[in-house]
Amino acid sequence: MEASISAALNVSVLAMGVIFTVLVILIFTIQLLVKLIPYKAPPAPPARAASSPSNQDDQVAAITATLASHMGKRPDEFRIVNIQSH
């Protein structure tokens, strides 16, 4: 099946049209999105440190249990107050 130049031209014009149509739709969608959800400066860093208290609880529990196991004490004989990563 040999293709004719005119068929190729038809396909090309049509395809460029479709591409521009699709991408223009995308542009409008993005613009809408950016308008609806504007950028906000991220909250101050200290907020982040406090964000996962449950995880820290876990860590305290795990470390306490492990320490207790190694020191041969019951977990309630001592208390870990805070964990700091550095």
Partner: protein, 411 residues
């Protein structure tokens, strides 16, 4: 083929997804977006629900050839790994590599809590039969109560593949909801005094025991329930990579990139099975209700057995660790810790709850093994599987079949 402008344009328009977009597709696209939303913003098991949701999104775009049933489509290839039960055992190998059975070995009686929590599986099975499901379907739905993703997918694809999508989604969703589902049941079924019980510290375990344990579990459980060998065997192999101390390379790969790759393939495949046809049915609603039931009964089962152990041990066992027997590692153990600490902030149950928690994984696998022994008709299983193997491995059967037919025809 003609390439006039109008015929080409018509071809493009007719091949858009909009052209054949049905109401069911639109609803499923919505469901997909909800799953993605829950995964990202509510952090519902995001490693699974995000790619499941995205797979669902792709599968429900008409003409995209991305549903699990679209022969030759991309996600259909991944789906073969679910259908032939290859991917869930590989995930389990990674889970084994990530799991420390130390707390279980230090207090082996907690295995009973992992057993008791399986009551959720059977209450749900009975409920499912009551709602009209047949026994295989009811078993696959019941296993949601095992609170273990790969086990649920393994059993669903074996016993009721047409229910795979809702079962997988229900299992992972309720696993994420453990911190919401469990605490009220835990407070209802335990007294404040029980919740305040402090447990004795766990004794340390020899590394040799940790190494021998996975081998023993494999031999004992797989000899008793051979159908569970792919799941439990790979779980224990992963754990052996971890504990043996001589296969650090394999351990690292198993618990990171291998489990990650398999997770992506598995989750996309499960998502691709969430088509309107398979998902938008009254069965899905029933499964969602039954799934909640399953988790609640499993929690209650673990707790009540915990109370029993508390009584028999003379008050040495805090019943709160019983709810961790549902699996959902490590979420359920954290819930035990948190509810305990809510009552007495100096009560540290986490490590004690890890025992029943990993016991729950073994318990669910054993429950899966019982189902396979009962329903996984070995002959039928071979038939189903035989599809791929003889063809890859042996060119002859097809030819033999041909010969047989030809003989028959000739006579």
């Amino acid at each position: 083929m003609e390439f006039s402008f109008s015929s080409s344009a018509s071809k493009i328009i007719h091949s858009t997804g909009f052209f054949s977009l049905g109401g069911g597709d639109i609803i499923m696209l919505g469901v997909a977006c909800v799953l993605i939303y829950l995964a990202i913003w509510k952090k519902f098991e995001p490693l699974l629900l995000l790619p499941i949701g995205f797979g669902c999104l792709l599968a429900n775009i008409p003409m995209s050839m991305m549903a699990s049933t679209d022969s030759g489509g991309l996600l259909n290839f991944f789906y073969q790994g679910v259908k032939h039960e290859i991917l869930p055992p590989l995930i389990f190998m990674g889970v084994g590599a990530l799991t420390d059975f130390g707390p279980l070995l230090a207090n082996p009686a907690t295995l009973l809590l992992g057993a008791a929590a399986q009551i959720g599986v059977y209450m749900t099975l009975i409920g499912a039969v009551y709602l009209g499901f047949n026994m295989q379907e009811a078993s696959a739905i019941g296993i949601i109560g095992g609170a273990d993703g790969p086990t649920s997918i393994f059993i669903a694809s074996k016993l009721a593949p047409h229910l795979l999508a809702p079962i997988a989604v229900a299992a992972y969703s309720y696993m994420s909801l453990v911190p919401l589902i469990q605490p009220p049941i835990m407070k209802l079924l335990t007294t404040e005094k029980e919740r305040k019980i402090k447990m004795e510290q766990l004794r340390p375990i020899s590394q040799t025991v940790k190494i021998i344990f996975p081998v023993i579990v494999t031999i004992v459980c797989c000899l008793l329930l051979p159908g569970v060998a792919p799941l439990l065997g790979m779980l224990m192999l992963g754990n052996l990579f971890r504990e043996s101390g001589v296969t650090a390379r394999l351990h690292e790969t198993t618990e990171t990139h291998l489990i990650n790759i398999v997770t992506i393939l598995l989750a996309l495949a499960v998502g691709s099975s969430m088509t309107a046809e398979s998902f938008l049915r009254v069965e899905t609603l029933k499964i969602i209700v039954l799934g909640l039931l399953a988790f609640s009964f499993a929690t209650a089962g673990g707790l009540l057995f915990g109370k029993l152990m508390c009584k028999f041990s003379g008050g040495k066992v805090n019943p709160l660790i019983g709810s961790a027997g549902v699996s959902a590692v490590p979420m359920a153990a954290r819930v035990s810790q948190k509810v305990g600490a809510d009552t007495d902030p100096t009560n540290f149950l986490l490590m004690h709850a890890m025992g029943p928690n990993v016991a729950g994984v073994i318990g669910s696998a054993v429950a899966a093994g019982v189902f396979i022994s009962l329903f996984g008709d070995a002959g039928a299983a071979i038939d189903t599987h035989a599809a791929l193997a003889p063809i890859i491995g042996n060119p002859e059967p097809g030819m033999q079949a041909l010969a047989t037919v030809v003989e028959a025809v000739k006579q």
